[in-house]
Symmetry: D2
Subunit: 389 residues, 4 copies
């Protein structure tokens, strides 16, 4: 059976925006490793029974490609990540040929004079990838550097206005939204793993609907926010009043470097902060910092201090530290999201996929931030997806 063909014959494309970044590299190498029988499926939510019932496209059928603005060879990037403890160096050594092949499927992000032309070029690249590799469908996954929030502009609010602006040669779209536009135009579902604007603009949600395409977002929930979504409901359902919740994050790596720019960090602290008040039902204060600490590499250390009040006003404290490898936490979720979004596409679902809230810091299409509630929504949806077959 050739690379990228699953037992069930399906072939699913994964088009990474940011294909040479930490997350994309880890997801790519991980897929190759699993398919070579060199790694177990630890971390893959889609392998758990209540999710697998959906009848998801097998990992064996995944073929990766993508865009990036840099040209660092994938094998080189993988080596750097392996040296940083993200995955065992032995995997990089063993998968040299496969990494080279994956590398050849990545293209330099098109630079054109107008956004109209750039969008066209991106769509063309994605279509070419689909055709060349005889893929049943391609899921576009945005794992590129975090952008600042979009400024509000009328031409971003509805599709007609956006098209006129693009026709007029103007460039209203943030990069992440340009990719979303191009993905939808190429008939591809989208996963927004970053907090960037992406498809959240009015014009693009409209386009997705028009194209009958499903999409999901945003900002993968992998660390402190994940823990919060497990812990905050404990305080809520036990009627313990949270007085303050402090969140200190340190990370290195490319993502850390990007977030050292306060403008980009706004997108992240916004998606990180959203859920707590919603889960508790009232506003909670507390500092939240994301600090770039170069020596941590792709690892993150988070420390949270929760001050809360119980019966008769007694004040208590809970603290946690989280020492996680961000890319190792993110990569399997990317694979899960591709499989689930591909299945939704196959089943004809469209619009934003609320049942995928389980995976995101800012769960578009859902108001539930609790991990357990999101898990129920996910597994119920998977059961339906599977039943419909």
């Amino acid at each position: 059976m050739s690379q990228g063909t699953a037992v069930d014959g399906t072939r699913t494309g994964v088009w990474f925006v940011g294909a040479r970044g930490s997350v994309a590299t880890t997801a790519t190498l991980g897929t190759l490793a699993m398919n070579a029988g060199l790694a177990p499926r630890t971390g893959l939510v889609s392998e758990l029974e209540p999710v697998a019932v959906a009848g998801l496209p097998p990992v064996e059928g995944l073929v990766t490609g993508g865009h990036d603005v840099i040209e660092t060879p994938l094998a080189h990037r993988a080596q750097v990540l392996a040296d940083g403890g993200v995955f065992p160096p032995a995997l990089v050594a063993a998968l040299g040929a496969e990494l080279a092949a994956a590398d050849s499927r990545i293209r330099l992000a098109p630079r054109r004079d107008t956004q109209r032309e750039a969008a066209q070029a991106i769509s063309d690249d994605i279509r070419a990838f689909r055709d060349e590799h005889r893929l049943d469908r391609v899921v576009v996954v945005d794992v590129s550097s975090t952008e600042p929030p979009a400024e509000s502009k009328p031409e971003l609010d509805n599709l007609a206005a956006l098209e006129s602006a693009l026709d007029a040669g103007s460039a209203p779209l943030p990069q992440s939204s340009l990719y979303a536009y191009a993905a939808f135009r190429a008939g591809c579902p989208l996963v927004s793993f970053t907090p960037s604007p992406g498809a959240t603009l009015g014009a693009l949600t409209e386009l997705a609907k028009q194209q009958a395409l499903p999409w999901a977002g945003r900002d993968g929930k992998t660390g402190e926010t994940l823990v919060k979504s497990a812990l905050a409901p404990m305080f809520a359902t036990r009627a313990l009043r949270v007085r303050s919740w402090a969140s200190y994050n340190m990370l290195g790596g490319g993502d850390g470097r990007t977030l050292a720019d306060p403008r980009a960090a706004v997108s992240k602290t916004t998606t990180k902060g959203a859920g707590l008040d919603a889960m508790l039902g009232y506003h909670v204060d507390g500092p939240m910092h994301i600090d770039y600490v170069e020596d941590l590499g792709d690892w993150k250390t988070a420390w949270d201090n929760v001050s809360f009040e119980g019966f008769l006003g007694t004040r208590m404290t809970m603290q946690f530290t989280w020492e996680g490898c961000d890319s190792a936490l993110a990569a399997p979720l990317v694979v899960d999201l591709v499989r689930l979004t591909a299945k939704a596409h196959e089943r004809g679902e469209n619009g934003v996929l609320g049942p995928l809230s389980f995976f995101f810091k800012d769960p578009l299409g859902s108001i539930d931030h609790t991990l357990a509630g999101q898990w129920r929504a996910l597994t119920q949806w998977c059961e339906q997806l599977g039943a419909r077959a």
Copy 2:
């Protein structure tokens, strides 16, 4: 409206086994404080909308009493707890008269030559309390010192054998089970807030059924185990493999002193340890200690270290510290359990109340250890209880 009469006219008795202990004293003082308008309802799960829908007996209608083997005045015990930061000293000062009245409703635990006679005396005390205070019902709550696990004996397995043994003058019952027997014989529902054997013996579950009485247990979930039941499902549903989970607990107070005895501690570490493997679906190793550190008083500090494995075998760590005031965490749950068990009794439910698993380390009548799952079970049950009205 006189002390202990609720808006709805119901009067519910609470009979504490261990009525002068930390938990009972805090629950008693807290009830008095809430009824005097001196304290909010923070920490009371039964005041949250999805639980309150059950139509629970109001806090205003609660009247406390109980047994203890010591005679320390309640006001004195309350002062010691207040000095230790369990609740504000001002409450003790303000509620002097009410505490004295509550104190007068506590009796010395009967000592008799045979368990048959002792059981009779306990039942008599409870019935006298019910009659004297014109209570609609009395919920017996075991908050006495933790006992070692029961040794298995044939006469504990069925009711007929137990009755014969008691008739024969032998004393087969652990203390907590003697109280459970007496409670059931007096027609009272029971809440086992301790890990002691209580009503878990075959003979007693049979008696509860025979008397058509509901009961709930066991071992209030207030600290580290509570956090575990919120966190472990996160690892499970994210397919992260827990490698080891270390649990270190330090506490002072009466409970700490009792648990410094390794024989008693077995009951506690057993109920504490039960849930993790069940939630994860596999066995997890790791040290678990409960250490008596006198200077902590009624406060507990727990530290947990979770070592886990993610995608491609990458190893990560999460740690938490929990600094809680045990009695302040336990007391409102006791009030919740009394209200819920009283309601169940009113509605004619009998046998062990699985839907109360939310409150217990060892959730009798339920196999679900996850806090979120238990919360759903609880709130669904409350909805039904309320609807049936």
Copy 3:
């Protein structure tokens, strides 16, 4: 023996700048409590044998007074601190009369049209305090709100230029330096417990020398920096290379509110940051935050994460949390510094007192930031002071 007279007959005045603040209130109440036999001497470095050998003025001989810009009665402030757990409420109740007397010795900070006049008025108040209470000497202690760093101006560099500027009616001095000027002019030694400019300006160090007065500073070392000065030498003498040291501080209270202003915070993060590089011998990166978290009151929670490298490049981590009550940590040091500075004054020492580096984040007159080195310097000096007697 009347209030403020020591066994040895000495009477030492303490003039607080910021006399109604948390630190001053705690130091005042603590002195009264110790003298009333209501509190032990825990936390007083000056009671330890190797320091006491200096032959220090007894606590019984201390009389407090001071300036503040607010008029909150001392007893009220003390009650608020006691409610926040800084000291036992019982002390406030027991020391009502003494607190009222102490309150009457505090004056409103003089407001005048020129700094020349203001300085004169401050000096007059201090002299009046000394005379009225027949004090052998008065040590002025700056425990007022932290100011931003001083801007450099030529008239701050030497005394003659400063005097001309003051004569000319201009107002070149930061508040803390105005108090330092007035203290020296009144013939009083000074302790700068804050990171404010105080006597560090060239003109004022000159004045202290001219007046033959000793002074000490700056910024009391009470929390995270204290721990750092104990731990950093461990890494240094074990040849372990610190890769990054992150310092997160949360605090409430008046000091926290002041430091929420980024301009004031600069003074603090500067004094806090100074020592680490000096102790290690190389520059170490890492985030440092001081966050105002209102609900913490006068308590501080600090969390530090130290990432270091050992033999063969192996990377390891140490983390600590510190939950301290800032005022309870600061107040005894204030008493220590008063006693030691008074002794130095008595012995005719002048200029900045390097041997008091043990007490300060920014140890003026010393280059040693290690706690153990500072302890040796302090105790050797105390031995000399005592021997000279």
Copy 4:
């Protein structure tokens, strides 16, 4: 220059008891790596200026050998340690030949019918090593598995009695003491890096004196106890009263497995516990556990909780976590101790070397447990050693 010859021409032998264990393997590989220019000297105290002044034998002149009861090839053991993150796998690959050579210098621990014969065989092996490699001297370093404390027996108290017992064919010596006896008989200085009895028995201290040999011990101070020796003096010199100090240690590896045996653990908890009370001047309670957690491998995670009291009785808390790689922390100290003990031998020092207390949990020959005090003692001694040259 051939392997093991220093610039100054000296050749110093290192004879490891437990030569195939984690510490010995790491020290051996580290020495080879430094000499091949593949690793810096991080972690080597003996490279710091105030210690190097002693004029120590260079690392280039060290030649390792030793005894062990197992035959696992050194390269294999090194690979396992590298996989566990103790040092970079690349070093093992690069030093294959050197590791094989080092392996050939390790002998199987002699098994004989009597301790007299066994001691003779051990001495013979050490002498043969010295002769074959033309070594100026050999330092014997005990890094074998921890033994239980020695039972007291008259024949261990003085040398004559011991010799008679050995002559009589009896076997009174613990293994570690047998090696100490053999080392001294072979004219070699000894370093006891373990908490085992070793040379602490009366008969052996007598033998060392008689042979005019220096020795040092015991139990390398590498983790929690190291931190304690830096932190406890902070509490002491600040007059803060420690109420309890809890010490929880988790470790895997061979050492962890040995210490899972409660009999062996006694030796360790004894040396670990000794210092705290000495540094504080009063007895402090608190649990101390060493738990074997297999999945941690050669890494240790320690968590300490310090509860202390300050001014006016205010209670505060400090906690730390320490995540260290035990062997990476121990190995450079072993190299330091060899160099320092060799120098002492060269200079004719004999008996137990108190100035090496800096390196040990149980600092034989010294009563100072404070890290800073020990550092001063060490550096003063080094200055003298250097000056005498």
